[in-house]
């Protein structure tokens, strides 16, 4: 077994709405994942470095730094560029600059579908 491999996988939830953060954290915890969260892109970057999550869920519309910018910064970091990202947003269309997200979910989303995708991606 690789040294330092985590037993429980960790998911970073990025959303500026505290109710939605609570929702997502509850879904992930119920399914046996660890969680951490951030309320905007800049904060997410700090949490990312500290917590080294296995997967990220990303909202697009956030104050200070919005999703696409966070995504661009993430893609430029060799250590994190392969971390899978699931976009969960109220916007119907895909943002041109986040082409590499593993999937796009539109709010309101189906929790079963979300968990299915997460399990397929990180186990």
């Amino acid at each position: 077994m690789e040294n330092g491999e985590k037993m429980t996988k960790k998911i970073l939830v990025v959303d500026d709405d505290p109710v939605i953060v609570k929702y997502l954290i509850n879904i992930f915890n119920d399914n046996g994942y660890e969680t951490c969260f951030a309320n905007d892109g800049a904060e997410a970057f700090e949490v990312l470095k500290k917590e080294k999550p296995d997967l990220i869920t990303l909202d697009l519309e956030m104050p200070k730094e919005w999703g696409p910018r966070f995504f661009r910064r993430l893609s430029k970091q060799p250590e994190f560029k392969d971390t899978p990202v699931i976009v969960i947003s109220g916007l119907a269309s895909r943002h041109l600059s986040i082409d590499k997200a593993i999937t796009w979910l539109t709010k309101p989303f189906d929790p079963e579908q979300l968990i299915g995708i997460v399990k397929n991606t990180i186990g």
Partner: protein
């Protein structure tokens, strides 16, 4: 002039290379020839060598931003239509864009269908304007012909007087030389006075002055311009200026003909704000529905685990979301419904007590103090009680939020007070709501009543104060706000007593 420009050419301005490339591909697929610029300054350079009938520009760019570019292009070529692009939620920028005559506003991420619709609307507007210009030119020719015919017998003024439009002539110094009856009715008779003085009350010529342009170009020029009438009404006019060219090729006078288009502008504004609202609201509603799902999920999962605390949390999430959705829907209904005002004779004390009955539970739940200053002697006034009541309650809601936020931010400020004052000031009745809450900066105070400006971030729809302002205006009253950050806010509503 914009009339001769190719309608299938677009100038695309965005500072982000990847977005620019993808948009250019999309536009090319739609059959347009695209010229690209990285910022406003580059765009102006490109525009000066080769004007375009349509410009698609990002708002937030370095060097020269989209709003500045919009103003410059509208100045260079009023017939050019400009579509603005920006991130979601920038409603202030959207409104600023429309004030500066942007034709459309689309949000990032840009969806190809939305883009196509926006371009088609811009095209439609260009087409309409060209038709209007053709019509005007015919009118000009007709007037010219009539002028020639009648000049010798000095009957031109008779014709001008019968036309239901503002017509006036100015000399090269922009002083009024003659005008028709309609002009006199709107602005008074002021021979020899500067036209900008008469029509705008300004000491310098208007920014888009078509007469000035016409003196220089010796051609007809057109502009959309707002004039202030002598009874202080602001009216939007579509104005054409035609030069009177003398045999020695000098321009002795310019004749300006202007048609009142304020109703068209009003309708256009209303449609635009409605469209904007639906866009911003549908995005908000998706968030609220997700929150509602969230509450339901947390509650459901708590029941399975028999976790009482989590169940309570889920219930609170649902209650919060339900009340937000309810408020949003009520706001929308109020805004979209055109309703008649039914004024009633009211007694101030009873009216105030009804408001207090509604707001008191909320104030107590938030653990705030409510101080009342009700009049000793009864004040009778007339108003439509329902909308006035909800306008005042909206202000109370803001006061409560402001107090709670101040307390959360500064633990030392636990004692938060809301004061409700009803009193008579000369011939007016004043309802004042002051709080010791978080307060607003000068900029926030200025924007408080604009549509979709929410001082509460995602918590508000940005409609509450806008509606309050509208209601008070319909009562011929005034609403004023004074505020200081971390000190508090005071809203004062004054209604006439007669």
């Amino acid at each position: 002039m914009a009339q001769d420009l190719d309608i299938n050419e677009i100038l695309l301005v965005d500072d982000e290379e990847d977005i620019r490339d993808v948009l250019a591909i999309a536009l090319t697929d739609l059959g347009y020839r695209v010229t690209m610029a990285e910022n406003g300054l580059e765009a102006i350079k490109a525009f000066e060598t080769h004007p375009f009938s349509m410009v698609l520009t990002d708002i937030k760019m370095p060097v020269m931003d989209g709003i500045e570019l919009l103003k410059k292009i509208k100045h260079l070529s009023p017939g050019t239509e400009i579509i603005m692009i920006t991130g979601h939620g920038d409603m202030d920028l959207a409104i600023e864009s429309f004030r500066n005559q942007a034709v459309e506003f689309i949000t990032k991420p840009v969806d190809v269908n939305t883009l196509e619709t926006a371009i088609n609307r811009a095209k439609e507007k260009i087409g309409l304007k060209r038709k209007l210009a053709d019509y005007t030119q015919n009118l000009e020719r007709l007037v010219q012909k009539k002028t020639d015919e009648l000049k010798s017998v000095r009957e031109i003024s008779a014709i001008m007087d019968t036309l239901p439009m503002v017509i006036f002539c100015v000399n090269p110094k922009l002083r009024l030389t003659s005008c028709n009856t309609f002009f006199k009715e709107q602005f008074g008779d002021h021979p020899g006075v500067f036209c900008h003085r008469i029509c705008k009350g300004k000491e310098i010529p208007c920014e888009a002055c078509p007469a000035l342009k016409s003196f220089i170009s010796k051609q007809s020029e057109q502009a959309e311009i707002t004039y202030t009438t002598r009874d202080h009404r602001e009216i939007s006019f579509l104005a054409w200026a035609s030069p009177v060219v003398e045999p020695d090729d000098t321009v002795s006078e310019v004749m300006v003909m202007a048609i009142d288009v304020s109703r068209v502008v009003d309708i256009e504004d209303h449609l635009k704000s409605l469209g904007l609202m639906i866009g911003s609201v549908s995005h908000g509603i998706k968030g609220l529905l997700t929150g509602l799902d969230g509450g339901l999920y947390v509650l459901d999962s708590a029941l399975k685990k028999q976790d009482q605390d989590q169940a309570q949390e889920g219930l609170e999430m649902m209650k919060l979301m339900t009340s937000k959705i309810r408020k949003m829907i009520l706001d929308i209904l109020f805004y979209t419904k055109k309703r008649e005002f039914i004024k009633e004779n009211l007694a101030a004390t009873q009216f105030a007590k009804e408001i207090i009955r509604t707001v008191k539970p909320k104030i107590q739940a938030a653990n705030l103090t409510l101080t009342l200053n009700l009049p000793q002697e009864e004040i009778k006034f007339t108003a439509d009680p329902d909308p006035l009541n909800s306008a005042i309650i909206n202000i109370f809601d803001n006061a409560i939020d402001a107090c709670v936020e101040n307390r959360e931010r500064f633990p030392s400020k636990q004692d938060q007070i809301i004061t409700f004052t009803v009193r008579r000031i000369n011939h007016e009745i004043e309802f004042a709501i002051s709080d010791t809450g978080i307060g607003m900066t000068a900029q926030e105070t200025k924007q408080a009543f604009t549509l979709f400006h929410s001082g509460k971030g995602k918590k508000g729809t940005g409609l509450g104060l806008f509606i309050a302002d509208k209601v008070i205006a319909q009562h011929q009253g005034t609403i004023d706000v004074t505020s200081e950050p971390n000190k508090g806010t005071r809203f004062s509503i004054c209604l006439p007593l007669v």
